[in-house]
Symmetry: C2
């Protein structure tokens, strides 16, 4: 559905991207972000201190604990979590601002966050990216050699939890080894299909006859 059609300018869509460690979802997002007119990455709010090269509003919105809890109370977050004593969350207003520009918002988040988003923002599209099987996932985690044995085992175990939530997701893409561009292409196809979904065009018939 092109933007120039009689339907007028279309809002962007919110995509949750989840997947077990080793799925390659980060690389897929980088490929999508090569088109910054079509996609934007969501910026989270956090109560942790900024790192030396981090800029407020770019990596994160850095806020106080008091402010964050006020945002929770006012329902201003699409989802949030408390991780190792710091809050992390997705501000609704910043998300809406991006979507208003017509760009699609990408939100890389775990399955618990994904479920919160779907509740707070039902029009969100949930995509899970998975490695081509448990064995290949293990091979990938071991080959990148950046994690301890303990961490690898924990991540492999967590894959079970992530995949148990697949039923809450809309789409699943198997990220075959060496085919990340194909995975990105399937993601783009999902974006185009969702934009053509009838439920996203409740006023189409009226516009058709009004033109």
């Amino acid at each position: 559905m092109s933007e120039e059609s009689f339907l007028g300018k279309q809002k962007g869509l919110l995509f949750v991207v989840s997947g077990p460690a080793g799925s390659g979802k980060g690389t897929v997002m980088q490929l999508l972000m090569q088109d910054p007119e079509a996609f934007a990455l969501s910026v989270s709010a956090t109560t942790r201190a900024p790192g030396k090269n981090e800029k407020d509003g770019r990596e994160y919105f850095f806020v106080s604990r008091e402010k964050f809890e006020d945002m929770i109370a006012k329902g201003e977050l699409l989802e949030y979590t408390d991780y190792l004593g710091n809050y992390y969350g997705t501000p609704r207003a910043a998300a809406e601002a991006v979507l208003g520009t017509g760009r699609h918002l990408l939100l890389e988040i775990d399955v618990n966050g994904g479920k919160q988003i779907k509740k707070a923002f039902p029009e969100a599209v949930l995509v899970m990216i998975v490695p081509p099987g448990a064995k290949e996932q293990e091979r990938r985690l071991r080959s990148r050699a950046r994690d301890s044995e303990e961490s690898i085992l924990r991540r492999l175990e967590k894959a079970g939890t992530e995949l148990d939530s697949l039923g809450d997701y809309d789409y699943v893409i198997v990220n075959e080894t060496g085919k990340t561009e194909e995975t990105a292409e399937t993601f783009r196809a999902i974006v185009a299909a969702e934009a053509a979904s009838v439920r996203r065009h409740p006023d189409l018939v009226g516009r058709y006859f009004a033109d």
Copy 2:
């Protein structure tokens, strides 16, 4: 979702393609059919007599009235209609045979047929292709100059009925003038997205850990 993945060979999907006269859906189907390994056109059964260049099983399956009514009684048709004294219908067995090869089946049919298909075959995907507005539809019908004024008016009126059924459809593509290839591309995106739909992979998690 590629066929070579650990998910094994995937079945084809059934796509209903509808749209008002002048939508250009026929041309879109021709573009899709340039890839006959991915797509196949559905062949209807009919009780009308074959034309001189028509071959049984190619344009239609030509059957007797008795045979056709027997197929209706046995539930062997995904949909059927009685048009000007002849029956036309879609045999389930022929459709299933094509889907079993992994090719996607395209079924160009009106909204009444589309609704019957969705009932008999709920996993079908219903796509409506529409002109960019009523005025442009009229211009297209007049410019092709193959229809009488009466026929043009009847077709314009029918567009209202077709669009009234949009809510029963899954996707809508506005076929902008001069952009039929874009419309075909959006159709292909819908095919890829549907193939990646979580509900079409009920056994993915089991296969993931079994590999």
